[in-house]
Symmetry: C2
Subunit: 150 residues, 2 copies
DNA sequence: GCGATATGATTGCATTGACAACTATCTGGG
DNA sequence: CCCAGATAGTTGTCAATGCAATCATATCGC
């Protein structure tokens, strides 16, 4: 606390929200450019959706929304663009006509082999030289912050 | 690494980029609503700009862009909205006609007394129950990741 | 002093994202 | 069986963001 506020003077450099935003933006930018450098016309947000569908294909929009931490309207539009570029298809759920089943196209499935190695390289790069214990502490702390704000 | 990829199976829950995004989104949302709950019609991004100007008033758009980790077009537009709501004013720099000097209005200055306590409450809430040492490790790790991607 | 180049700022375009409103469909109480 | 309320999804609006392009002004080399 005292490292982020000195009286009513604000020390942004030490503020976790500021750091988190900066680090995430940088990760996102590097990821985006790395995908495109490999000729993969995909955004990091679409990559998350693909990752979920590779785990288990045929999910609803709501389920994708929750499991990727995006709200439903956002997921709906991410799927719009993925449908337009031919990565996924939406069809009406036979058991509930309100619901849509999102499935990977052949192309969406095929991307896995290309994207996963790029993602692994990126993770290796961003974690380089950081002790495993610090990474564990960071994850635990981030999860705790998340819960604190629930 | 192995906690995020199991073969070519992806475990999003352990992926730092995924965690960072989720935590930041939640912080941003809570901050936004907390400001508005107090009748402060301000976005978290505008709050960062104000914090910088409270430290030292009269900065250029570029300087604000760099010190808040936003790109220049983004800063330009954040300033548009802040100018519209009367928080800041832009004027031409006397020493360099390309440059604009951004200054706080009376209202922009006055917000400090209201916003800082709300921000301090938020920081206390998000850090609640987390050992100081873990917060330090987390900050150090985030900075290291940031540098790794430079 | 002039032209090439660099820099500061803005604008255009597309995506992500929050929130509210709306449509379609389902489910439960009577 | 029908209506009220809940749920799934989409659309509208607005702000934040990235990238490319543009415009104005400065600066550097000759």
């Amino acid at each position: 606390m005292r490292d982020q506020f000195d009286g009513d003077q604000i020390i942004l450099e030490n503020a976790l929200p500021f750091l988190l935003h900066g680090v995430y933006q940088r990760i996102r930018g590097v990821t985006y450019r790395e995908f495109h450098r490999h000729g993969l016309e995909i955004t990091p947000e679409q990559w998350i959706v693909l990752a979920r569908l590779w785990q288990r294909d045929g999910r609803s929009v709501s389920e994708l929304s929750e499991s990727t931490l995006r709200d439903r309207p956002t997921m709906s539009r991410i799927l719009d663009s993925m449908e337009k570029t031919g990565l996924v298809a939406r069809s009406v759920d036979r058991e509930d006509a309100r619901s849509r089943v999102v499935t990977l196209t052949r192309e969406g499935k095929a991307l896995r082999k290309k994207l996963v190695p790029v993602a692994m390289e990126l993770v290796a790069r961003l974690e380089a030289g950081i002790p495993e214990i610090d990474l564990l502490t960071t994850r635990r702390t981030l999860r705790r912050i998340f819960e604190n704000l629930s």
